[in-house]
Subunit: 89 residues, 5 copies
């Protein structure tokens, strides 16, 4: 699980049918100080996140099938929350 | 899940029988700006993608078994859509 | 599985309902000498860890669903113990 | 899934009993141009691959349990085919 | 799956109850030439490995639950054998 920032939206007309109706976002992982670190990835969103928001991303298929309530959805990376703030040590 | 570009086709005569009839592609992951980033990987395709196209790749075996409708297929990385465009922040 | 240090707490008001009631921590992976190495990640904690403590982190969803006793919880990274000390060769 | 070259054989007398009878190979991942890239890994082989051959490797435990037809085998990385050639763009 | 060297032992008093009775080791991944490469990780051992030995490590939770014969054990990385030698090409 990681913290990332929503930096883009993907438009894909030809795609697996189970992906229809979900937003495909590009997210940039952040380090604990809020700086970009590592490669961007694609995350599916059910409506938590807006452009530029910091989000909590999970990268696990079995969780996705539970959360999207669809055993056939080919999703592995998705957004499970919006982060208000991080309290550092 | 990641965005990648189709850059090659793999020819493999001796292979697991469940892989027969599917295309084996080489895909190069892209960063959000569309530049190559990270190592190439192999992705199985059911017919979404052509040479040079930008695709949405998922790296998860349980999803593969659902999408290929075959509980015995040894596939982990496959293509679930073709990306038309990316809208950046 | 890896050794990490708890370096922050995440506050997220809008989040998946199954995550409620658990602490969301930021952990920094450590190398065997106790030096930070690699990217920070988010880990869910059930009450093992305090700020600055060195913890044992596992990154696996099926284990999480067992440990949290909740088949629908979207958790992949979590804390399974507090490390007292490491004996090196 | 990735393309790799077989570069070594591992001899291990003390090992999990389900691993007996399978070959333990060292494989070096290759980039699309056939150059070594990234760390070597261990892959189990059922008889597809010889020394120096280029192979298709999958890194997924559930697939392994299907292909090896053994629900208890602790295998995650294994060889599913031999690559004859790669056609680049 | 990877080859690694046992370089440390972890002492953790407060931990998930299913981890009790197993040894928690620090292992350093090795490249094919036996040189350290990449980050150390934690691996659970059932009695295969001693300090300084070269071991075969698997990083997969479902295999762990089979091998440890415990569906609730939060283990992902563990030792499945001791490597006697590696024959290189």
């Amino acid at each position: 699980m990681l913290i990332a920032k929503v930096t883009g939206v993907v438009v894909a007309t030809r795609k697996n049918k189970h992906l229809e109706g979900n937003r495909l976002l590009i997210v940039q992982p952040l380090d604990r100080d809020g700086k970009p670190k590592g490669n961007s990835m694609m995350a599916v969103d059910q409506g938590y996140a807006g452009f530029g928001e910091t989000v909590l991303v999970i990268d696990e298929g079995n969780s996705a099938r539970q959360v999207f309530n669809n055993p056939e959805i080919p999703v592995r990376t998705f957004i499970v929350g919006v982060i208000d703030r991080v309290d550092l040590e």
